[in-house]
Each structure stands twice: as C-alpha cells, then as structure tokens.
C-alpha cells in the first residue's frame, strides 16, 4: 500500500492458488485482507477430485486395492492397508502375524518419508531452500529402503487383502535398518536447525495459533491436534502390530506452527524407534492368507493414524464382487476448518507457512 493512499482501504479479497509456487498441489483460497492481516479465508477444493470412491462399484473388490493405494501417493501404503483391513473385517479374515508386522514396518517407513517430505516443503514455504534440499536428500535414503523392501518408491504396491504381497527376508530388513542409520543422525542435525535457527523461529513461533479447545472442537486430527495439546493418536488403538509395541503419542502444547514442527520431528524419531523394534521382533511365517469367493453382506469401518492424522475407511458389501460403497474421511479434510482458524490473524506473508504446517494432502482430501 503506497503511502499517499489517504482513504483507508476496505477489506481486499486476494485469490490464493490454485496454481501457486509453494503448493505442489492445487488448493484455492479467497483471502480477505485488512491491510496486511488476513481476516477471513474461504477454501475451495475440487481441483483434484476424480471420484475414485465410486470406482469401487466397477472393480473387483480384490483389485480395488490398487485404486485405494492411489488415493494419495504419499500415504499410499496406508490407504491400501486401510481398505484391506476394512474388507478383511467383513470377510472375517485373520491376517498372518508376519503380515501384520510388515504392515507396521511399511506404515512407519511411510511416516518417516512423509514427515521428511513435509519438513522440506515447509522450509521451502518460508524460503529456506537449503533446508528443503537437505530434508529431501535424507528422504531419498528412506525411499531406497522402501523400494528395496516393497518394490515401489512412492506407491509401494505391497498391500493385499489377506496380508501383504511382498516378503522381504529378515536379512534385507536388518540391512535396510543399517542403511537408514545415517539418516537418523542427519535428522538430528536438521532438527537443530529447525529448533535453534533464529530465522526459522521468527517465522514459526507464535504464528498460526490454534488453541486446545478450538483444535478439539473443529475436529482437527494428527500433528495439528497433538501440537495443540490434545493427546490422541489412533495408533494407540493397537491395530496391526501396534498393540505389541511400546510408544507414546508426541504432544506439544503451544499450538503454533513451531509446535507442529516439533511434533513431526518427534514423530520421526519415534518412528525410527518403532522400526527398530519391528525389525527385531519380526515373526516368521506366511505373509498372506488366500482369499476366495464373494464377500458376505455387511459393512465395516476402520481407523488408522496416517502421517497427517486419523483417517477413516468405510466399506459396505452387498454380497457381490463389487462393493456397494467405499468412503474415506481423510486427515487433511478434517484439518481444513482448523487451518482456516489458524490463518485468521496472520499476515499475508505467513499464509503459505500456515497452510503448509497442516501438511495438506489435497489429492486424498478430494479423492
């Protein structure tokens, strides 16, 4: 605003997105500004909507796993796994032990790579490109392990109704954990930058605050919820092998962008510990049970904790090979109200940072 504009301007509406340099995915906001302050934000989604839930009516229920894995390319394995769990519940199938532990292994691997990806993008959002590149370099090692154990870099393709489709031997798993070791040290080094660097603190501390009550009332999930002080992690439900693993949800209380960073940094460290434990305790045995015939009539729903938060899957079967209904409620979708709350009151320059700290995944939000 130039200084010779005498009349006080009214609110200005600025379109943000859908094609925006900081967003890898299209998301659109109408931001209402008063001077530099954002007073309102109206999100508009739909740029990635494909309609893949309806595809369940056309595909064989066993083949649909491949579509479920492509709900989102970042939490791909967990989407596949959630669908499988929901279908297995209807079928009344008990997954073999080794498959349960392998699922846990890949879930945690995915969490690490997703959080590293996010750390990079978030750094990029406030212009710290070096940090972006450092995070992504560390991530590549994790991706290599994913590729070696599952066969895919981002779309693992190892989820299967009744178990998993790949069986990396124990030797490979141990070797992978060794390969990942340097990443842990690298992440500790990156964490020092995130926590200690004054410029980073300046951009994140006290920005985009969401109170504990608001986070809970608006139905926030995942790191967004835990950063505001609510102790809730769907993994504590004990699905797959989580019931046999020691861990505690990472919780922060500040509720600002910095707290969300701290939660995710803590979760990376925690995931590494879980991975260690999983590899150490990996039971022997088959990795899948054969599934034959039609699913019985019935419905089920499943909750999982993805990197971005709790996700819900609902499946209804009508007794044929094509399921009747599949529904996903994804974490980003649940986090949008809290994000809108966090954006209010920040200055325009902080909008990308705040949007990024919820770790938006638009492609699963819109499916």
């Amino acid at each position: 605003m130039s200084s010779h504009d005498k009349a006080a301007p009214g609110p200005t509406v600025i379109p943000f997105g859908p094609q925006h340099p900081v967003l890898p995915e299209p998301l659109h906001f109408d931001l209402t500004l008063e001077d530099e302050k954002v007073v309102g934000a109206i999100p508009q989604i739909g740029y990635i909507h494909r309609g893949l839930e309806m595809l369940v009516e056309k595909r064989d229920y066993l083949d649909y796993v491949h579509v479920a894995e492509r709900i989102c390319g970042i939490c791909s394995f967990m989407h596949g796994m959630g669908y499988c769990e929901a279908v297995e519940t209807i079928l009344g199938v008990q997954v073999p032990d080794r498959a349960r532990w392998l699922r846990t292994f890949w879930s945690e691997l995915e969490r690490v790579h997703s959080h590293l990806l996010w750390l990079g993008l978030a750094a990029d959002a406030f212009g710290f490109e070096n940090l972006f590149h450092a995070s992504w370099r560390a991530r590549e090692t994790v991706i290599d392990v994913a590729e070696e154990t599952s066969g895919g870099r981002v779309i693992f393709g190892s989820a299967l109704v009744g178990g998993v489709s790949r069986d990396p031997d124990d030797e490979t798993l141990r070797r992978c954990m060794k390969a990942i070791e340097p990443v842990r040290a690298e992440i500790l080094r990156l964490a020092q930058v995130w926590i200690g660097e004054p410029t980073v603190r300046h951009r994140l501390s006290g920005v985009g605050h969401v109170s504990k009550e608001a986070a809970y009332a608006l139905g926030a999930v995942g790191p967004m919820l835990r950063a505001s002080g609510v102790d809730y992690d769907a993994r504590e439900r004990g699905y797959e092998a989580y019931g046999e693993i020691e861990f505690k949800a990472v919780v922060e209380t500040a509720g600002d962008c910095m707290a969300r960073v701290l939660v995710r940094l803590g979760e990376i460290e925690q995931s590494f510990r879980i991975l260690d434990e999983v590899v150490a305790k990996m039971p022997a045995g088959p990795v899948a049970v054969p599934i034959k015939g039609m699913p019985p009539v019935g419905e089920s729903w499943i909750r999982l904790e993805q990197p971005r938060g709790e996700v819900l899957y609902f499946v209804r079967s009508n007794g044929t090979r094509q399921l009747e209904r599949f529904r996903v409620r994804t974490p980003t979708f649940a986090n949008i109200p809290a994000m809108v709350e966090a954006i209010k009151g920040v200055s325009l320059a902080d909008v990308p940072t705040v949007i990024l700290t919820i770790d938006p995944c638009i492609s699963c939000t819109e499916r």
């Binding site: 094609q19 890898p24 595809l55 390319g73 992504w136 779309i155």
Partner: protein, 159 residues
C-alpha cells in the same frame, strides 16, 4: 545433450493426480536427481516457462486452469505429460470426473511412463522436451526468415 541451447524453465501443475508423480517431480529437483544440472529452473510463473510438466488425468474443474497455464506460456513451448494418469487416466480412467489424459485438453510433446513415474524417467522426459524445444525454436526462426523473404519482394514492388 548438445541440442539444448538454452536453460529451459519448468512449470509444474498437478491436474488431478494421486500425488505420487508430483512428489517424484519434486524429487527430480532435489540433490539426488538434481534437474538443475541440465540448466533447468522451476518457476511458478507460466509467462516465464518453457516446459510444462503436468501430472494427472485432468478433471472438469481444472480444464480452464490447465489451458490457462498453457496459453500463457510463450512460444516455443513443450509439454511433458507425466505418469499413466496423464496419458490415459491410468487407474482413474473409469472415474466419472476425469477427462482421461492431458492430450484431451492441450497438445503433449513427451509422455513419461510409469505409475508412479520414476525420477530417472522424468529427467529423461525433461531432456527430450528440451530437445524438442530447441527444434521448435529452429523451426520458428526458419519460418520467420521465410516470412521476411516473402515480404521483402512485395515491398520492393510497392515502391
């Protein structure tokens, strides 16, 4: 590689993909694969871009966005469609809200296969697009020269 005579600037847009190919596009820009060694820079501004990296099968809402980006890019330009989705709709081909491929909306120069496309093949696609870009540029120059030649005798006669 000798065909690349300028630094191609890239623009990336996700036209209803699953994200898998997008994060691989980003991985191409980071130290492991480092597309910048080919002189590429990513820009957010279509008016400065030479190569359009597009993923996803294009849905009804983003058709205008895709067209808009494409039209704002100056000539010569090249389009790289990344992933099975961008080719035919991929796994989503039968969904009600997809167009089934980028080529339904804008002309495509290079297709990168895979679901998800691997960074190596995306880099290959970018290099090929840079070559196509150089050829298009040559053709444009030639056409301009030819147009000038065609013009000048007429001007002579007018005098």
């Amino acid at each position: 590689m000798s065909a690349i005579e300028k630094s191609p600037w890239l623009i990336h847009y996700d036209a209803s993909s699953c994200n898998g190919c997008d994060i691989e596009v980003l991985a191409c820009l980071t130290p492991m694969y480092d597309a910048e060694r080919f002189g590429c820079i990513v820009t957010g501004d279509p008016k400065q871009a030479d190569i359009f990296l597009i993923t996803g099968s294009v849905n009804n809402l983003n058709i205008p966005v895709v067209k808009n980006i494409y039209e704002q890019m100056p000539e010569p330009k090249a389009v790289v469609a990344i992933g099975a989705c961008a080719y035919s709709g991929g796994v989503f081909a039968e969904c009600y809200n997809v167009q089934g491929g980028v080529a339904k909306v804008i002309p495509v120069d290079v297709y990168v296969p895979g679901c998800a496309a691997k960074p190596e093949s995306i880099l290959d696609g970018v290099v090929r697009a840079a070559q196509i870009l150089a050829e298009k540029k040559k053709a444009m120059r030639k056409a301009r020269r030819a147009a000038r030649h065609a013009e000048s005798p007429a001007q002579e006669a007018a005098k």
